[in-house]
Amino acid sequence: MIRLPLVLMFSALLFSAGVYGVLARRNAVMVLMAIELMLNAVNVNLVAFSSSLHQMSGQVFALFIIAVAAAEVGIGLAIVILLFRTRESINVDEVNLLKW
């Protein structure tokens, strides 16, 4: 049996890694993957709490997050492909036409 605080610490680290990735990565696909990391940290949290509380609703929540995350990645990739077609680049820091 793995103790709950360890799992929570793991998920907090995973989430932080995701936040770092979103802020530091230039490639849009990498940003998408970093966001996936954050969502998976949430899933780890929910499943850990759910198993330690012996209560199902957390796992149901996690299932919905998995489904929604898949849809989000689909939308994100579509937008990235669109960006690539018009700009020949998917670096997010080059997306800077609009300011202030």
């Binding site: 929570l8 989430f15 995701g18 979103v22 849009a28 940003v31 966001i35 954050m38 969502l39 940290a41 949430v42 949290n45 929910l46 850990a48 709490f49 759910s50 509380l53 209560q55 609703s57 957390g58 149901v60 929540f61 919905f64 997050i65 929604v68 849809a71 989000e72 939308i75 994100g76 579509a78 937008i79 990235v80 669109l82 960006l83 018009t86 700009r87 997010v92 997306v95 800077n96 036409l97 609009l98 300011k99 202030w100």
Partner: protein
């Protein structure tokens, strides 16, 4: 598992319409694609009829109390569906002439509105998350709908990354709340469970609340999480910007109101200072940056940010006193609804001008009194109302918030009221820029602007509504009174 089918009727009608639009679209020939709009319009009106049939039917619960249809929910559902009618009316000509994928657009737009309609009824973390996603996910695609335009692509990318990031932050907070409360996901249960936690768990609960607030702060474009909004609005097609500025942000507020006033009400001592800061920063930065804008959609975006600041102010007024909380809540609801009407009107007028001047600089509004008198008068009324000057509805909205702030007492209430007053005065300067162009400058091309009848009708109705709110404030004050949220300071 009890399901009240009558209470869910508006959602069912809207969902059915969405599927119908998609199926009809794939079988329509290219030149008849616009036909998706009247189908959607009929569906929205049907859904609105469903909402009207529920008025006075009392509070109705479905799915074990996680989906509640009460007066608060009905008020917002009605507002969102009327907004849907308006945005559909604004879209028809714009998307027909622009050569866009029309069927997909109406499908996405209605899906977003389904999320909006679900939001005020969702009384469970999972449902709030699903409703929020349903609002924003189609929004990402709609923002990028001008596929060949680099600015529109940029709008889509920024909106997508910020939208998904904010959802992830909010979800992390929700997952912690689930753990801290020992497995509560219903808002009312969370409120009870959070009152019982102390010590280290309370610290964790505060962290969770902070995560959720930051997630929503992105959605309602509060400073310092506002930078995506002007870029996204400017790059999107104008009707989509209208949708994002009105429906999407009001849906965010509908969710935030429920979370703060029901689930986290007991922790107000922790989050009231946060909201006070957010509110002051949001209105000040929004107004200051708006002063320098020369593009009308960006001007409206920054004005929207400043308006978000006024609404956030009501959250900072929460105390232990239930009566005073109800005051703040009523002020927030009234202001949100009035804000929706005036902003929608301003965007409608902008759509009308965008046919001749797609870049929508402030100077493009010059001489509108000659070229399109109804639009010009309407736009002037919306701008005056947004500034909070009588004789318009915006005046009552601001007065209600001001009153609630004064009545809260202490040092915080009056201090916030003063900041709001100073900001309102400053905002008059940029709100009058557009009317000055319309009435004091002459147009380069004095021929009449051809405005679609639907757009003129929207502008006229919104204008009349705002003046009517000023003349008959009691009718609208009652709207907020009846919208008592279940579990609010009972």
């Amino acid at each position: 598992m009890n399901i009240d089918y009558h209470a869910l009727l508006p959602e069912f009608i809207l969902a059915g319409t969405i599927l119908l639009v998609l199926v009809v679209d794939v079988f329509l020939p290219e030149r008849a694609k616009w036909f998706a709009m009247p189908i959607g319009l009929i569906g929205v009106v049907g859904s609105l009829a469903g909402v009207l049939s529920l008025i006075g039917a009392g509070t109705r619960e479905s799915f074990g109390g996680t989906y509640v249809v009460d007066e608060f929910a009905l008020l917002f559902k009605g507002f969102f569906l009327v907004t849907a009618v308006v945005v559909l009316a604004l879209s028809l000509r714009y998307f027909r002439e622009g050569g866009f994928y029309q069927g997909e657009y109406y499908f996405l737009l209605l899906t977003s509105f389904l999320g909006c309609v679900m939001m005020p009824s969702s009384r469970d973390l999972l449902l709030l998350f699903l409703a929020l996603e349903l609002v924003s996910a189609p929004g990402f695609l709609m923002a990028a709908f001008r596929k060949g335009d680099v600015k529109s692509n940029e709008a889509g990318v920024k909106f997508f990354i910020i939208g998904v990031l904010s959802t992830a932050v909010m979800l992390f907070g929700m997952s912690l709340i689930y753990g801290v409360t020992g497995g509560a996901t219903k808002l009312a249960e969370i409120g009870v469970a959070l009152d019982g936690v102390s010590g280290e768990m309370e610290t964790l609960a505060f962290a969770a609340i902070l995560f959720v607030v930051v997630g929503f702060a992105f959605k309602v474009s509060a400073v310092p999480f506002q930078f995506w909004a002007p870029d996204t609005y400017e790059g999107s097609p104008v009707p989509v910007a209208a949708f994002l500025a009105v429906a999407s942000s009001v849906a965010g507020f509908a969710g935030l109101l429920q979370l703060m006033f029901v689930a986290f009400a007991g922790q107000h001592e922790f989050w009231v200072p946060i909201f006070a800061f957010l509110s002051i920063a949001t209105m000040t930065v929004g107004n200051l940056v708006a002063l320098q804008q020369t593009q009308v959609v960006r001007l409206l975006a920054y004005s929207g940010i400043a308006q978000s600041g006024y609404i956030l102010l009501t959250f900072a007024l929460v105390t232990d006193d239930a009566a005073s909380n109800r005051n703040a809540f009523a002020a927030a609801v009234t202001y949100i609804l009035i804000y929706g009407v005036m902003n929608l009107g301003a965007f409608a007028a902008t759509v009308a001008v965008s046919r001749r001047h797609p870049t929508l600089g402030v100077a493009d509004f010059a001489g509108l009194r000659e070229t399109a008198p109804v639009i010009a008068v309407g736009m002037a009324v919306f701008m005056i109302s947004l500034a909070g000057v009588p004789p318009t509805g915006g005046f009552w909205g601001k007065l209600l918030i001001f009153q609630a702030a004064i009545e809260r007492g202490g040092t915080l209430g009056p201090a916030l009221a003063v900041v709001m007053l100073v900001n309102s005065v400053a905002s008059v300067f940029y709100y009058l820029v557009v009317p000055r162009q319309m009435f004091l400058r002459d147009a380069a091309d004095p021929s009449r602007l051809r405005v679609p009848a639907l757009v003129t009708a929207v502008v006229a109705v919104a204008m009349v509504t705002l003046v009517a709110i000023f003349v008959l404030p009691n009718v609208f004050a009652r709207l907020a009174e009846i919208s008592t949220l279940v579990g609010l300071g009972a």
